[in-house]
Amino acid sequence: MPSIPDTNDALLTVQGLSLAIRRGRAHTPAVAGLDFSLRAGETLALVGESGCGKSLTAQALMRLLPPAIRVTAGQVRFQGRELLNLPEAAMRELRGRGMGMIFQEPATSLNPVLTVGQQIGEVLVRHLGLQGRAVRERAEALLQQVGIADPARRLDEYPFQLSGGMKQRVMIAMALAGEPSLLIADEPSTALDVTVQSQILDLLQELQARRGMALLLITHDLGVVARMAHRVGVMYAGQLVELASRDAFFQEARHPYSRALFAALPEAVPRGARLQALAGQVPAFAAMPKACRFAERCDRVQSLCREQAPLLTPLAGNPENQVRCHFPGSGSFLAAAAGPGAGSPTFGPALLEVSGLQVHFPIRKGILQRVRGQVRAVDGVSLELAPGRTLALVGESGCGKTTVGKALMQLLPLTAGSVRWQGQALAGQGGKDRSWRRRMQMVFQDPFASLNPRMTVGDILLEGMQALGVVTDAAAGRAASAALLEQVGLQGDSLDRYPHEFSGGQRQRIAIARALAVSPQVLICDEPTSALDVSVQAQILNLLKDLQERLQMAYLFITHNFAVVEYLAHEVAVMYLGRVVERGSTARVLAAPAHPYTEVLLSAVPRLDGRGRPIALAGETPSPAAPPAGCHFHPRCPRAVALCRERYPDLLPLADGRQVACHLPAASAVQLDGEG
């Protein structure tokens, strides 16, 4: 962590910044009275749930608000100048030069029809007055700086030719091109895999140290905050509710909302403890409580809270730390969260056995579209699912996790391999065995895309039941649907409403209810919480855990979030390039990973205590169409030896029952065997 240069002059001071959203003719106040400041070389992390106004705040600083949003009050002083009444021309001088911004979505924030070189170059021309060859040389140096290999070639490429991580690096290079003194980074690593995220965060930290830049980091990931921030600002429903130094915040967050955030985090609560999900929802801006905005969901609420709005007040003894609460909590938040551990799982014979599963997609090329190669999305995966047990499938994007799920659901044809249900071979390859469909259901990542917006919730549930012949008459279906909704914690009157009337978390509940409608024995969950906020994620994870205990379902849980794995899964299988490289009980694998790739993945997860150095991973994941010879991981593996380049290691058991595909599994894991 770089130390902050010792100056007291703030680079950026925001006072009383308030924004309103126009709906028709009315203006709804959104962000209300934001106060904070930022010094050169300092990182302030702004955290909070989706929709609390983080991105709007960032855009307001740049004066790039969407047309429907207006600044209603406040001041923004930057380098001694008041920005909000600066003429537009002067503001344009400042954008890109004084302050640079990295936007939330690298995929859509780059211009698709201009080359990387053109997009970086125009900043250099605009702000540094570079011309001709100098532009290209400088752009190349910038790409080099953000860690893009072969920058000269990349300059002439278009955004769609870059991977997600590279696009984000290009965004960073663009934001840095004008050598800004303030960098605003809006969720710079949220859309990325942990290993790439780790590289991007390292990069930002290093650049900041070198240039003495101030960094306003917007994120909802407390692990990222712990790693990057000097100070933390927590936003709730458009207000800052807590502002504290990083250490103070992680040792003893004071605002009840901040504390609730921690209690909802799978990585913060002790293993086996239940997540404390926040009840209720963030109030809509149009219906904001007059006094404390958090009162409806607060566990410390008193009558004063509903009468008088709390102010952001410095804490006695440490005026740097401020809290907006009449009755701030104290002590470790974790004490409140410790609860009874989950019962030890029961073992049973496997319901579903998958062996040697392969799914290949043909690559077609040329005038006649002949098959020229195969994308080996899944290349020999074996796993078992037992009742009441959860197997987590983890790995980075593109490793084939989702394809495994879809193949099991018969949404894709299998190239090879067998699937057995309670010992009986299923009419696999292509045969549309409908009873299979009844035994297995899938919950998808995006609760917004997976529900038909034109059907009521009741119809959505009924459709599944009727298609598989669970119910035939409508009245019985309605009763069954109402019971299902109750099971996932929604009110029965939701039946006649449409999906868009529900929040993200509620929609995911509906999707789960739809899956449960046919009483499946196996539930495949594909990143069911990755589109959700932590407090909502906690609700869904708790729900899934409850349902499993009650219904003894087997879960195949596809995710890239290790905290979720640790919280929910009994067993974990780590995938790389279409194959399982390590498989075993969650406790053993997470405590002592044996495969080098598992080690890298685990080290890259940002931790709440901010400790632990990520292991650097060289290069990018190779294409599954042309995996490296020998062990697929050898070009990036820190332990690789000559044998690794020649022979793919077999998936062999260690003494503790886990399986590892590596010639040289980690010594620590092997030693653990003996203790057993």
Partner: protein, 325 residues
């Protein structure tokens, strides 16, 4: 890239054959040669003999696909299909009712058609895109609002009105140019000004509104915000970032009509007495000259397919995402 174009052309072949068959079915199976003869001869002269004679004169008395009476290859070639339809592939369209060679007629009439259609197209594109850019630049202002109102107004007026009104005002009242007719050589421009002008004005409403919508859609995208965050002036944001992206949907809509420009415009050419392919078609329809109408339908379809192929190719030229596939 070359492989891609070749593949597109290969794909077009079966479609062309299909179009040819369809035209054939339309003109000979649905509407039999007997029907044609009756229409042509008029009610008064219809006797079985007259019909037979009419058909024999034009070669319509042969079987449709298969001629068992002929020998060898002629069994295939001595048929209506081969003579009237298959030959169109090599540009042989046969003769019109007045005995003139249709192919030659078409070549000589292409020039006048293009003389009107091409300037109308280029000028219209330039004017409407410029207007749409202005409206999008001043979006959500009074200018934008009244601009859209004007567009809707212009759209709702029939194109006949533009033609007749323009002829009355410019040619009759102000006497600036001749009302109609066509001249060769340098003199031609006097006859061209008015139809081109009317063509451009008539298209302003709908095209401007459509392009404005495309521009506005791009204005709201994330990459535009990124461009602004770099501190670029709004003109650069528009001309470098937005225009280039908006050209992709605009091109797809526009390129498809380019080959059809050869066909001229039915209305404009008839009203201005331009000896182009548009008026040729209208005249043929009036005269119930099936050979000509059939040829024009076939040529129109071929040009449309050519337009679709051109669209695909131009798409790959402007959109790097497709170019590199």
């Amino acid at each position: 890239m070359l492989a891609y174009i070749l593949r597109r052309l290969l794909y077009a072949l079966p479609i062309l054959i299909g179009v040819n068959l369809l035209t054939f079915a339309l003109f000979f199976v649905v509407n039999t040669p007997d029907d044609m003869a009756r229409l042509q001869l008029g009610v008064k002269h219809v006797t079985p003999e007259a019909i037979q004679k009419w058909k024999a004169e034009r070669g319509y008395d042969r079987p449709l696909f298969w001629n068992p009476a002929a020998g060898g290859l002629q069994q295939l070639s001595d048929t209506i299909f081969f003579d009237k339809s298959a030959r169109m592939f090599v540009g042989d369209f046969g003769q019109a009712e007045d005995g003139r060679d249709i192919a030659r007629e078409i070549t000589s009439r292409m020039g006048p058609s293009l003389a009107i259609a091409l300037p109308t197209f280029v000028l219209g594109l330039f004017v409407t895109i410029s207007l749409a850019l202005i409206l999008a630049f001043f979006r959500a202002t009074a200018l934008d609002f009244w601009g859209v109102v004007a567009c809707v107004g212009l759209m709702s007026i029939s194109s006949l009105f533009y033609i007749i009104g323009g002829q009355y005002l410019v040619a009759k009242v102000w006497q600036l140019v001749p009302i109609s007719g066509f001249g060769e050589g340098l003199d031609a421009w006097r006859f061209l000004v008015l139809p081109v002008l009317i063509g451009v004005v008539g298209g302003i409403g709908s095209s401007t509104r459509w392009y404005r919508t495309i521009f506005l859609e791009e204005v709201g995208k994330d990459y535009v915000r990124t461009a602004r965050a770099k501190g670029l002036p709004e003109t650069l944001v528009f001309f470098r970032h937005i225009l280039k992206n908006a050209m992709i949907p605009i091109l797809t809509g526009v390129v498809v009509v380019i080959p059809l420009l050869f066909m001229g415009s039915l209305l404009t050419e008839s009203f201005f007495g331009i000896p182009g392919l548009g008026s040729y078609t209208i005249d043929a329809i009036n005269a119930q000259d099936f050979a000509v109408v059939r040829s024009m339908v076939f040529i129109g379809s071929v040009l449309y397919i050519a337009g679709l192929i051109l669209t695909d190719i131009s798409y790959t030229l402007v959109d790097p995402r497709i170019r590199f596939e």
